[in-house]
């Protein structure tokens, strides 16, 4: 007899049958029935209809039956809140049961019933259980506080449970301490700035004592909590390290990794000359190695963390290279991680071994792995100079295998090697050229073209080679096209006599036949450079390039520091700060490593744990610098193609292009009329040749752009940098001129606060890489909605939309994810309605109804701000009783009264009243005095603020007077604007 029989019945009358069995007199039958119900529940069948019958079985002495009923309750109480109340009494009774097991079970289950109504009944029993004599009950109750907090945070704070929880940290039983810490940590996550886990040397001491005695899971919680502490000096740091070190020998890998985190962090504070420091370093290696003999999933997480650790402290694992050698039966994700670490650990001492391994890997079958292995050889060459020669010969061997993807990958890395060690290995170019025809991936083709262009003078048939690529110019990817353009220009500068035709061909292809702005711009720049001053062109195009160094693939130091503080967490697996991806982590504190007290690094990070709110959205659109240039030129105000046949490079050098650049730059640099959105402006160097341009007025017309700058000679000099670096040399706060351009159509004409205002453009496409968002707010059936039209004006498909709000005055927040299910193709629009809730975090904004929004898609994150009409926040139950209205009106001091005029409104008082009613402005009474209608109205905002209004309408007079009274006078102005909009709509 097994339980699988419960899965088999799927007849139609099942529910009825179960119902009958549940109400049976026989205990045994009842239990069987409950088991069947549970089984159905497990596989996702809906058995909520049986709720009352199951709850009836609750009062029983049979512990198993009780447990089963509890299981059922937890699952379905949410959908049957009224019925769940029936269970409350049993819970309260069970909380006083003499058997601690039952007490704990009851308090545990109560916390899992996520019904608001029940939580109130829960407080008393919970308070009792938190002080229970039995530690088993106490530790269960500690977790229950966290559960309750999740359901109703305010209640927990009001009832003082948080303080009780803090007291439990000093409990005599280590398990209780561990659970209290776990609960507090979870609660603290949603209260980033609260000082819940106030760590001081006394509590630390208690935690360390508990650490030795509690369960493995408790140890993880305590260690994670310890990692947030900043010791006062190196002494304290050392003593904590000493007490944590034994955890490195724990069988549970999560304990080990958490201990590693604590040690890595506190080690920063130890002076490096201390003996203990060396001992500690030695002790860290074996546990990390042991992690690699565990199951592959554990290995993966461990490897991602080791990747961080070796970047921070390579000395720990420098002798352990061999354990990172790939095993034939490792899953692919482990193999790739191991490769990464091998490269990081590669040094002169072990490079021979590493290379031999990598060469082996390059002959494996898994394509991804092979590619990465070949890349790794290249990175070794760049990292360890002495090995470069051997790496190159290994790569050449691999090219000889003629395996297509190996060859391509090898060529890509050889390009990097050339950039690291110029003029050293050019002898291999001939071999590379042999494989020219087999290259079909853009990256490999681009690399090959770069090599040919760079070493054109040594390749006899360079022009032929490049010409062969040119035939299919339009079919190439942008990467290849750009590279080909540059390579041919290089070739021309090196061998001007025989390649003139070629260069003209490529320039005209790039400037006229291409839709790609980057390509076109680069073409124009080269063209102009070549025609005005070939010597300057040579300096620019053939300028010496900075050498590649191995740092390029290292994690940026500040990020690394933060990640080290997050060892063992998701952040360390993704190598991103938690703020970048963990949902609900608003205001997560940036963790930083403590500065070393003993050595001179103390200036490193004085402000440990400074509460930098990361998710504060910048207030306006922030274009990233690189693309803005592209966008700017993309305006295409006076396209040169319209001026007939292409001008020869030697002649007047197409004015159009120049003007285009001139005009664009002019507005780019000069416009000061709008304050830049980002405060970076001060620290960005502006090139002096350009900054003297007078600010162009915000209302300039496109036609003015043409002649504006003429052929300013300063331009050429302004482009002193190599072309590839050009976008970066522009100052970022360039939104000024463009803003104005778009604002003409957008925000200037944005109508305020109609009852549902027409859609206006919130985010113009130019600022968001082609994504245009227009939208409005509406209140439909009591739900506030943000209705948006997302238009894709870019060339590529957009997917993965998500939205987030900054804190705002009324706590508006998306009630669900942005429902854009299908990708938005080019020139396609999609309508979305995002329901909003008003339970988000609150921060007063200026103006009050300002809402800052961040929208993300697969391309980037964009920020914009918009204003919502306050009428949207008027709730349906905003009708006040007459008496209350009267009393309140009198009660509010006259200082809070604000009077406004509404002009040109041609409605009679009844029409006005009904119109306002539609927006939840309720008319409570109407009086007519001397031909003047007085409407007394009330409305209530979502956050409970009442606004009282007196609207005076005189027949025949189009001007209304509205007096507003409110305890929060700040809202009056907004309400008035809404009034006006509502009435005139």
């Amino acid at each position: 007899m097994t339980d699988s029989k419960y899965f088999t019945t799927t007849k139609k009358g099942e529910i009825f049958e179960l119902k009958a069995e549940l109400n049976s007199d026989k205990k045994e039958k009842k239990k069987e029935a409950v088991k069947k119900v549970i089984a159905s529940m497990t596989v996702g069948k809906d058995v909520s209809a049986l709720f009352p019958d199951v709850v009836n079985c609750m009062q029983t002495d049979n512990l198993e039956l009780k447990k089963l009923v509890y299981l059922y309750l937890m699952n379905y109480a949410k959908s049957q809140p009224d019925m769940a109340i029936m269970a409350v009494n049993t819970f309260v009774k069970d909380c006083e049961d003499p058997n601690p097991l039952i007490r704990a079970l009851a308090v545990r289950t109560m916390g899992c019933i996520r019904v608001d109504k029940i939580t109130e009944y829960l407080c008393e029993p919970l308070r009792k259980c938190l002080k229970d004599e039995d530690p088993y009950v106490r530790k269960t109750a500690a977790v229950c506080v966290a559960k309750l907090h999740d359901i109703n945070a305010q209640l927990v704070e009001d009832q003082g449970f948080l303080d009780t929880l803090k007291d439990l940290i000093s409990d005599s039983n280590p398990m209780v301490v561990a659970n209290a810490v776990a609960a507090l940590s979870e609660i603290a996550e949603s209260h980033p700035n609260s000082n819940l886990l106030d760590l001081n040397p006394q509590t630390i001491n208690k935690l360390l004592t508990a650490l030795n005695e509690c369960t493995e899971w408790g140890q993880i919680f305590i260690l994670d909590c310890l990692a947030n502490y900043t010791p006062r000096d190196d002494r304290e740091s050392q003593s904590i390290c000493e007490r944590v070190t034994p955890r490195l020998s724990h069988a549970n890998s999560a304990v080990v990794l958490s201990a590693v985190k604590v040690l890595m962090k506190f080690m920063e504070m130890l002076p490096k000359d201390l003996d203990y420091y060396g001992t500690l370093l030695k002790k860290l290696a074996p546990p990390l190695v042991t992690l690699l003999s565990a199951e592959p999933e554990l290995q993966y997480v461990a490897l991602r963390n080791i990747n961080l650790i070796v970047q921070r402290r390579p000395e720990i694992l420098k002798h352990e290279m061999k354990v990172f050698f790939v095993k034939y039966n490792d899953p692919i994700y482990v193999k790739l991680e191991k490769l990464d670490i091998m490269i990081r650990l590669a040094s002169q001492a072990n490079i021979a071994q590493v290379l031999a391994e990598l060469k082996e890997y390059a002959t494996e079958v898994d394509v991804d792995f092979v590619r990465k292995a070949v890349r790794a050889i290249g990175r070794c060459a760049i990292k360890v100079e002495q090995s470069a020669e051997r790496c190159v010969s290994t790569l050449l061997d691999l090219i000889q295998t003629k395996v297509n993807y190996v060859v391509q990958e090898a060529i890509v890395v050889i390009k990097d090697i050339f950039r690291k060690y110029p003029n050293k290995y050019e002898s291999v170019i001939a071999t590379l050229c042999e494989n020219l025809d087999s290259l079909d991936e853009p990256e490999a083709r681009a690399a090959m073209i770069w090599i040919v262009g760079e070493y054109a003078e040594r390749i006899d048939n360079a022009d032929e080679l490049l010409e062969s690529f040119l035939e299919g110019f339009h079919d190439e990817s942008t990467q290849v096209q750009l590279q080909l353009l540059t390579a041919i220009v290089k070739l021309f500068l090196k061998k001007p006599t025989e390649t003139q035709e070629l260069v003209q061909q490529v320039l005209s292809l790039a400037t006229q036949d291409s839709d790609n702005p980057d390509l076109r711009d680069r073409g124009y720049i080269y063209w102009r450079l070549l025609s005005t001053d070939p010597v300057a062109a040579k300096e620019v195009v053939l300028a010496e390039k900075p050498l590649i160094s191995e740092e390029t693939d290292l994690i940026e130091p500040t990020l690394l520091e933060e990640l080290i503080c997050h060892i063992g967490t998701l952040a360390s697996v993704y190598h991103k700060p938690p703020s970048a991806f963990v949902e609900g982590s608003r205001g997560v504190q940036h963790k930083r490593l403590p500065g070393s007290a003993g050595s001179g690094e103390s200036a490193d990070s004085p402000d440990t744990g400074s509460a930098a709110g990361v998710s504060e959205a910048p207030p306006a659109v922030i274009p990233s610098q690189g693309d803005l240039l592209g966008d700017l030129l993309n305006l295409d105000l006076t396209p040169p193609t319209t001026s007939g046949p292409p001008p020869a490079p030697s002649s007047g050098m197409q004015m159009g292009a120049m003007d285009l650049l001139g005009g664009g730059l002019d507005s780019l640099m000069g416009d000061e009329s709008e304050p830049p959105p980002v405060p970076q402006r001060t620290d960005t160097p502006q090139s002096p040749q350009l900054s003297h341009q007078s600010p162009s007025p915000p209302d300039y017309s496109p036609t003015e752009l043409g002649g504006d700058l003429g052929g300013s000679p300063a331009m050429g000099a302004g482009f002193g940098a190599p072309p590839t670096a050009m976008p970066a040399s522009f100052p970022p706060p360039v939104s000024g001129g463009l803003d104005d351009l778009f604002d003409l159509g957008g925000s200037v004409g944005m109508p305020m606060g109609a009852y549902s205002p027409p859609k206006s453009i919130w985010l113009p496409a130019m600022k968001a890489k082609g994504l245009e968002i227009s939208g409005t707010f509406a209140r439909r059936a009591g739900v506030i909605q943000m209705e948006m039209t997302l238009t894709n004006k870019a060339m590529s498909i957009m997917t993965d939309f998500a939205i987030q709000f900054n804190r705002n005055s009324f706590g508006l927040a998306p009630a669900g994810p942005l429902q854009v299910l299908t990708p938005v193709g080019p020139n396609q629009s999609i309508e979305v309605a995002l329901p909003l809730s008003t339970v988000g975090p609150v921060m007063k904004m200026e103006p009050l109804t300002n809402l800052q929004v961040a929208v993300k898609n697969n391309i980037d994150v964009f920020y914009f701000s918009s204003q919502y009409p306050i009428s949207m926040l008027f709730v349906e139950d905003g009708k006040m009783e007459r008496q209350v209205f009267l009393a309140t009106w009198k009660d509010i001091p006259n200082d809070n009264e604000a009077q406004f005029q509404i002009k040109d409104c041609h409605l009679n008082s009844d029409a006005a009243s009904s119109k306002l009613q539609g927006s939840n402005v309720f008319t409570i009474a109407k009086r007519t005095v001397e031909g003047q209608d007085m409407l007394y109205q009330s409305m209530k905002l979502t956050n409970g603020i009442w606004v009282l209004a007196e609207l005076r309408v005189q027949a025949g007079n189009p001007n209304y007077t509205v007096s507003l009274k409110c305890r929060a006078p700040e809202v009056s102005q907004c309400v008035f604007q809404s009034y006006e909009a509502m009435l005139k709509n």
């Binding site: 339980d3 699988s4 899965f7 045994e28 239990k31 088991k35 549970i38 497990t42 596989v43 512990l63 198993e64 447990k67 299981l71 699952n75 949410k78 058997n99 097991l101 545990r108 916390g111 899992c112 039995d134 088993y136 977790v143 229950c144 966290a146 999740d150 039983n173 398990m175 609960a183 979870e186 369960t215 899971w217 034994p246 020998s249 724990h250 069988a251 890998s253 999560a254 546990p287 042991t290 003999s293 199951e295 592959p296 999933e297 554990l298 993966y300 997480v301 061999k322 354990v323 095993k327 899953p331 994700y333 063992g568 967490t569 998701l570 697996v573 991806f581 963990v582 949902e583 982590s585």
Partner: protein, 394 residues
């Protein structure tokens, strides 16, 4: 903390779900299925998968994916370790951890999961405690339960739950007091064709089965504790004493448990107890190749080498192999080119060999003559690392 758990079988059906906080729709598993589709092999599914609102952490055991759903920043290792613990517990309770076994015992499974995690926090994961709370199903108990109407659920608060030794229950009584220790060592080694060891590492564990009355305090000492430089212990072991005196001192849990696991790296010379003589040749231009493989024991201290299994990935050009084993059986899969030979026990007097010819694809170039050969074997009652026990006291 851990939000929900889904169990997914090999054919991609969710056959069990458990939520410890609010209910997460099972559609969240679609992201998992996507990743599963992308992965070529079942074991290549990445262990951590991000979705817009959740993170999915999965392990694959016994052809079942255990997919945990988490919503906030939780140490992934914590989740993976916990999932392993779930698998171990199921195995402990039901003997095997298969879909059928889980379905057969769904109520016990549900009770166990409920007991192991509370609001996402681990509650009781020690098998000793769990067994006191929920008795493992046996045929006898099922019979008794059906007749008497009693239950699998323990009535008493598990005694170990709160004591300083949470892993041991109190009041243990045995008529026969006994304690067994098994030293199991696995060796991973790569040996080049001349027979010298390139890398070798040993993973060892000491599993114990202790059936002793009362609160025994055991000590275990080793002849050569220096070998064990990288160890991880069961929580019962007193670490201070090990650090200071290199003696294992502990109050053992009741029943089976893993006392410690250790890792001996290649720095300590390892003598491989088996050797392989091979002679694989292909002649240029001919479609035939010769294959000759002989195994023999070395340095086994008189112990027999058992369950020997040889496998080799033959070169791609090999079409078929016609071989003659002196003992055991062999198979050759012409698709994967995998040759495997089940040798059995090595008799030192008459060494096992596998000889014969291979037929090659006509016209193919001469393949590599050094295919890699993997050998698995077991030797009872011998520890390669030379780790020996000096004595134990009660």
């Amino acid at each position: 903390m851990i939000h929900s758990l889904f169990l997914v079988n090999a054919s991609g059906d969710i056959f069990l779900e458990k939520h410890w906080k609010s209910v997460v729709s099972r559609s969240v598993c679609d992201y998992f299925f996507e990743a599963q589709e992308r992965a070529t092999e079942p074991e290549n599914v990445p262990p951590v998968i991000p979705t817009p609102h959740h993170y999915l952490i999965s392990v694959l055991r016994h052809r079942i994916y255990f997919v945990a759903v988490i919503q906030s920043e939780v140490p992934p290792l914590f989740v993976i370790e916990f999932l392993h613990r779930v698998v171990d517990t199921f195995q402990d309770y039901f003997g095997v951890c298969t879909e059928a076994a889980i379905k057969d015992n769904v109520v016990v499974v549900y009770e166990l999961l409920e007991e192991m995690l509370d609001n996402g926090f681990p509650l009781a994961t020690e098998s000793n405690i769990l067994k006191e709370l929920i008795k493992p199903p046996t045929i006898l108990r099922t019979m008794v339960n059906t007749i008497t109407g009693s239950t699998n659920v323990g009535e008493q608060l598990p005694t170990g739950q709160l004591s300083v030794v949470p892993w041991r229950r109190t009041g243990v009584k045995y008529t026969n007091n006994e304690a067994y220790f098994d030293v199991v060592e696995e060796i991973d080694a790569i040996i080049d064709k001349s027979g010298s060891t390139i890398t070798a590492e040993i993973q060892g564990v000491i599993d114990a089965c202790v059936k002793l009355t009362g609160m025994p305090d055991l000590t275990l000492s080793f002849m050569n504790p220096r070998l064990l430089d990288d160890v991880s212990f069961h929580p019962c072991v007193r670490f201070k004493r090990w650090e200071a005196e290199r003696i294992l001192s502990f109050i053992p849990p009741d029943g089976n448990f893993r006392l410690l696991s250790y890792h001996v790296s290649s720095q300590n010379l390892v003598a491989i107890p088996v050797y392989v003589k091979h002679n694989i040749t292909f002649r240029e231009g001919s479609s035939q190749g010769r294959f000759d493989l002989t195994l023999g024991p070395k340095q086994t201290m008189g112990k027999a080498v058992e369950s020997v299994l040889v496998s080799s990935q033959l070169p791609r050009g090999v079409l078929n192999a016609n071989l003659n084993p002196s003992q055991g059986t062999y198979t050759f899969d012409p698709v994967t080119k995998m040759l495997s030979w089940d040798v059995g026990k090595i008799n030192p007097q008459k060494l096992p060999s596998l000889k014969g010819t291979m037929s090659l694809q006509a016209g193919a170039s001469k393949p590599d003559e050094n295919p890699s050969i993997n050998i698995q074997f077991k030797i009872q009652q011998m520890a390669i690392s030379g780790c020996t026990q000096a004595g134990q006291t009660l």
